[in-house]
Symmetry: C2
Subunit: 209 residues, 2 copies
């Protein structure tokens, strides 16, 4: 095998595995089934991946990186930081309300993986997915448009939490889709709450404003 065909082979196996895991879950899909569906031997599969658990984890990372890339792309044409957030969150929402989210895959299809491994993996995925949002929020803080949060906080995780709160409420209680206008309302509440203001210097702690 050349290095080129090795890479193509690995990518192909990953995509096939993603498809199978998404449909049937971690537990129900065997290494053999993935090798067969990918058109490679078990040995070829083990050449790329240590085992089923390692393969599932690579599928999740691959998935999360793709989602982070889509968030980045969605915000490419935006001028203001607020518009970037809005574009990213609109893209994000289409993913969490469909079944294509890596978090969906993790939550619903990972039965059979051990808990500790899952928790660590989950942290890594959240970090990957939120990175583009964290970058925009950090820029807003360094611009002076937003106040910084204390140590131990992730502004993106609060904002994403609001979006999940909205999406869950709509799905469970209101049976109404989340529109880009709705996301605008959430971004406004968050942005206003985080705005750097003379009259409310909360959270600045030791920092001079």
């Amino acid at each position: 095998m050349t290095s080129q065909s090795t890479r193509v082979g690995k990518q192909h196996i990953l995509e096939t595995a993603e498809d199978l895991f998404s449909k049937y879950g971690f537990q129900a899909v065997s290494i053999r089934a993935i090798a067969e569906a990918s058109g490679v031997t078990n040995a070829a599969l083990y050449y790329h991946f240590e085992g089923k658990e390692a393969l599932f984890k690579e599928v999740l990372v691959h998935h999360a990186e793709r989602l982070a890339g889509l968030l980045q792309q969605a915000s490419a044409g935006c001028e203001s930081l607020r518009d970037k957030l809005l574009a990213m969150l609109t893209e994000y929402t289409t993913h969490i309300t469909s079944r294509s989210s890596p978090v969906f895959l993790l939550r619903h299809k990972s039965k059979g993986l051990d808990d500790k491994g899952l928790r660590e993996q989950h942290g890594q995925l959240i970090h990957l997915i939120l990175a583009p949002l964290e970058n925009v929020l950090a820029e807003a803080v360094s611009n002076g448009e937003m106040r910084p949060l204390p140590e131990g906080f992730s502004a993106a995780s609060l904002l994403i939490g609001m979006i999940h709160g909205l999406a869950q409420h709509r799905r469970m209680c209101a049976r109404q889709d989340v529109t880009p206008e709705d996301i605008g309302v959430v971004v406004d509440v968050f942005w206003d709450g985080m705005r750097l203001r003379q009259e409310s210097p909360a959270f600045l702690g030791g920092r001079a404003s």
Copy 2:
């Protein structure tokens, strides 16, 4: 059976069922096991509950009502609406970070229940649990302390979403407990974001401020 002993019997079965479902999940626990552990006959159990699914649903509602009662209690001594929110969310956080949350029971122990029934149930539970928070937030709007959100929004679900975002981030990425001070930071961001201000009359729509 007198009406009094009937009520005691039902309550006792519910508590026994809650304990078993929490430990082993919906699927693994049989009606027979619940009857045995409760010290009643199958017939006595069916006198109170149509079947296992109906019993599980009553367990969840019972659980959610108890949590809503605890939120209400936690805020009883508070003077300001902001302090009420803070007290309720602090209580709420101890529940979502432990395994005693009804949502935990629903999410992790309900395998085997049909999806449609679950979704409806989930909406009902969220509604029950968030009611004390919704009431405080509605009071803040009618007081003029907060601006109203458009139709189709639940302010409590956004605020709870931030708390879940924070708790998830801590659990997965930071390995640090959520403190009451942390919850105060979240309430401040939300409160400032929702404050009724002359200079930013967003969301008021057709309403005169």
